[in-house]
């Protein structure tokens, strides 16, 4: 079967979807829905533009629609597969990873999305802004809130009401 330019981005779409949903089955469904939409709109993609950002934007829209449709309700518990800590992880790191997973799951979706797009997928702030269709200022403030929330959660502090000055 001929390869499609989209194919090479599938692993990263999947990594992002699993991190976002903490559930492989739901994540694979999200990837599938995203790909179907991407294929059906392939003629809308402008060659020379950032294909990865285009795909993430589609995934974001599908995700938001699914949230709205309440297909994805509350955050699901992590499945065991993902709970497996990579070989060689020390006990301390294993605990740290478990905390991160738990805290990530407890974050509001919009903060989690942005945190993952930037921290994991390493999109630029501009790419993230266009992917999520929000102003760059919102990217910065949401990112700061998300990171601080995650830090507090991981250190066992209740979410701070007061944010550092922006």
């Amino acid at each position: 079967m001929p390869g499609h330019p989209i194919d090479e981005h599938i692993p990263r779409l999947r990594r992002y979807a699993v991190a976002l949903l903490h559930d492989r089955v739901a994540a694979d469904d999200l990837v599938q829905d995203t790909l179907e939409r991407a294929w059906s709109r392939w003629h809308l993609w402008k060659p020379g533009t950032d294909l990865r950002a285009w795909l993430f934007a589609i995934m974001h829209n599908v995700f938001v629609n699914q949230l709205a449709a309440a297909k994805l309700r509350a955050v699901q518990p992590f499945d065991d597969e993902i709970n497996d800590v990579p070989v060689g992880a020390t006990q301390e790191r294993a605990l740290e990873m478990r905390d991160l997973r738990r805290c990530l799951a407890a974050m509001p979706e919009e903060q989690r999305e942005l945190l993952l797009l930037i921290g994991l997928e390493q999109l630029s702030y501009e790419q993230a802004a266009s992917t999520l269709d929000i102003p760059i200022g919102t990217v910065m403030s949401r990112l700061a809130r998300g990171r601080e929330r995650l830090r507090n959660c991981m250190t066992g502090v209740t979410p701070a009401l007061k944010m550092p000055n922006l």
Binding site: H4, R15, D28, W39, S40, P86, R93, L120, S124, T155
Partner: protein, 255 residues
Amino acid sequence: MSALVTEADLHAYLDDQLDAARRADVQAHLAANPPVAERIGAYRRQNELLHELFDGLLAEPVAQRFLRPPATLAASRWSMWRMAAAVGWLALGAAIGLATVNWRENKSYEAAVLRPALAAYDTYAEDKNRPVEIPADQEPAIRKWLAKRMQVEVAIPKFEAQGLVLLGGRLLPGRERPNCQLMYERADGKRIAVFMTRERGTELQTMSFDKRGATELAYWSTGVFNIVIAGATSAEEMRAIAEAARAQLNPPPSS
């Protein structure tokens, strides 16, 4: 002494999205404000942990269902046509060229990896008395011999949790270097073979599944070997075996 540093600057510093001059400002600010430095350090750790947790997914199989189905392929070739007409024949030519290269690569992966694996499975899995050259009770010898002939360390995965016992291993002819096959057996006599070859590069890092006749296949590259697991089993069982094999054969994530 340091210039005004905003929260946004701190994040851009962390995410490597600052220019050099501004970086120096932030570094000075962090040096002068240990609590801020500590906070940014914690954010950096978040990013590291995210990668440690989820990067393993990048090496995972691209399921067949994610590759575009023939129906939409036809539909969007039509769209590509229209686009090409608008943009020019050049784009069309490039697209066809790319597709052809890809197609050829898949063809030769089929010829160099999948077909030999299937042939070896068909030949030896059904051989009641001599399925292997060296039996499992001489496992160290198998490992040593394969390493010598294939010129690389060969790990021998175990599938006890999947109800499979190692029968042994054998060397197989290859085009440039020998290949090898490890044979496993279930209590009911059904056999599973793990085929390893160093041919055809290692580009296929994601795991794929396929079925040929009654034989389920799982295949991927560990970065050293192209691995093909073959067996007359259920797709579900094959998936479990392949996951177990990957966990044992792929190099652990750097830590």
